[in-house]
Amino acid sequence: MSVKSTAARSSRGGAKRRGGAGRKPELVQLLTPEGERVEHSEYSIDLTPEELRGLYRDMVFTRRFDGEAVTLQRQGELGLWASLLGQEAAQIGSGRATRPDDYVFPTYREHGVAWTRGVDPLNLLGMFRGVNNGGWDPNLNNFHLYTIVIGSQALHATGYAMGVAKDGADSAVIAYFGDGASSQGDVAEAFTFAAVYNAPVVFFCQNNQWAISEPTERQTRVPIYQRAAGFGFPGVRVDGNDVLAVLAVTRAALEHARSGEGPMLVEAFTYRMGAHTTSDDATRYRLDEETEEWAAKDPIARLKAYLANEGLADETFFAEVEAESDALAKRVREGVRAMPNPEPMAIFDNIYADGHALVDEERAQFAAYQASFEGSEEGAAR
């Protein structure tokens, strides 16, 4: 009955329609994979050598920290890690475009953005070690906790931006999400609300080509940035491995938001070089050739080539950055091992604003129960 006809129907359509109505999507690029500076008609950037070196340093640090976290997971110091390898330019470029008074809503992979916001990398490891559900105060750096549930934070960012607009503040909000997340209803609803209320929010989608094992074609038949048009705000695709282009485009998008022109969607076209997380085995679903192709577009290598070719940095500088990142890795390694185990009683804290009879009762019962083990070998429950 129905089954056959369904099968026949579902194989229609196909790759032809990919990439929109046959047009090749425009990609903003200011630095080629070979490290050559190119110009773009709409987006430009003019950075001092100091600033350029700073971006390089940020990316090297981020990659080194990320690699260290992967190692720590392998050594059993962390339960899990979601590596950002390959996405350093997308994160450093966009993060460096934000101002301290902007507010950032990250996913679980935004370690580079966290770095630009001044969050101590060590604090990012707590939830992956299992000692907390987010180890920093979001108010300190205007950097929210990592949101693991896919897409939810797009709405939170939009609401936050609606608050900013009500106050007439000139700060902006940026919401990070992935290509997979672009399928969630929450993200579509965030687009709707942001457009309707002209909210000062930038939707920053890192299209790293994969959502665990599913390629972007499983999520969309048009380039993600083109979706913005249907909601009534601008969208742009930027070379996500080009830190200069990402910085220029995100600055412009945040400026657009700040100046009262409403939301904007930035699609950073990049690649997840590693597995989805340390629990994932990417060889089950993707080919080495694809990864190698993207390795040739490495974000750090191209900036390094540019800095070296233009004489903006010398070997001493590169060696210095290397040494500093080693020191960072060492600090993180030692720091994570020294992280105190959380107090069992803490599970009853911060559930309600005030005392709460049920929780208080359970806290007291649990304390008495724990005390009954005092002196016994394990000192805790089986």
């Binding site: 009955m1 129905s2 089954v3 369904t6 099968a7 579902s10 194989s11 339960g79 899990l80 679980y108 939830m127 992956f128 070690r129 299992g130 000692v131 907390n132 559900n133 987010g134 693991i148 549930v149 896919i150 897409g151 997979g180 997340a181 399928s183 969630q184 209803g185 929450d186 959502a211 665990i212 094992s213 599913e214 499983r218 999520q219 629990s279 994932d280 089950r284 679903y285 185990n341 959380p342 069992p344 803490a346 599970i347 009853f348 559930i351 049920l358 929780v359 359970e362 649990f366 129960y369 083990f373 805790a380 429950a381 089986r382």
Partner: protein, 341 residues
Amino acid sequence: MSTATAPASAPAARKPATMAQALRQALHDALADDASVHVLGEDVGTLGGVFRITDGLTKEFGPDRVTDTPLAEAGILGTAVGMAMYGLRPVVEMQFDAFAYPAIEQLISHVARMRNRTRGAMPLPITIRIPYGGGIGGVEHHSDSSEAYYLHTPGLHVVTPATVADAYGLLRASIASDDPVVFLEPKRLYWSKADWSADAPQGVPPLGRAVVRRAGRSATLITYGPSLPVCLEAAEAGRQEGWDLEVVDLRSLVPFDDETVCDSVRRTGRAVVVHESSGFGGAGAEIAARITERCFHHLAAPVLRVAGFDIPYPPPMLERYHLPGVDRVLDAVARLQWEAN
């Protein structure tokens, strides 16, 4: 439609199998037996699911039968509703307990009610597989026990296996059911092993039947899913204290097997309900109420509950304090007013 009976061929030898393998076999056999069965979810195709429950199925049955969906749970379940209306028998995978929540509106307002709204004209034979529970050291949102939300929704079956054999049998029965079934898979038991073969006679138990896993006379431990091994261990340990504990595995929360539960409690006179999810408003509350209503004069002590605390699921390093363990179960047994005897 699938009849979900075991094949008539000679029974194969029992071999060690994991719960994950039994679940995979159930999906495999359902797909093979019934062309209307359609598996869909995130990463269920090439990857075989994050827990590998659908490993190799898309290769064998094709991507039209075992389908990677866009990353949108409301979309997955909402389209499954339409597919079921069209005559298919969707088996939906939600990647983790907490990631089923975006689909709650479809579940409560449409899946659970469609038979009733259409006065029986449009049943929805959908199975929603959800890995649930903690104890795996998962980061936030990967350890929820969400059964109470589902069992409070009329129109849904809520089923959860605790053994390898039941994983196969109950999943076959769930897929064969013409009502929607929320099929909760205790993820920390995925790699538990038992000697098993798919065509053993106990292959397909009916939905809604509890089973006594361990006979005893002192008190009844009533449990399901991930807490069954805890209760069996507690029952063993309880012997040292002089207790002979009976353990009932509910297998299905909806429909609920009052008969097996009450039969046990009437014999033992004491009962403790054990589950991971928070106690307040949880399954244990319903179970304790039903026992009290039906077996009051047989009870020597109030029915007690050992449950997760009424707190958001704690981070991995603290989860062992939250989860009912052997000592907490025995502690509850000790409070069953033995001195009154």
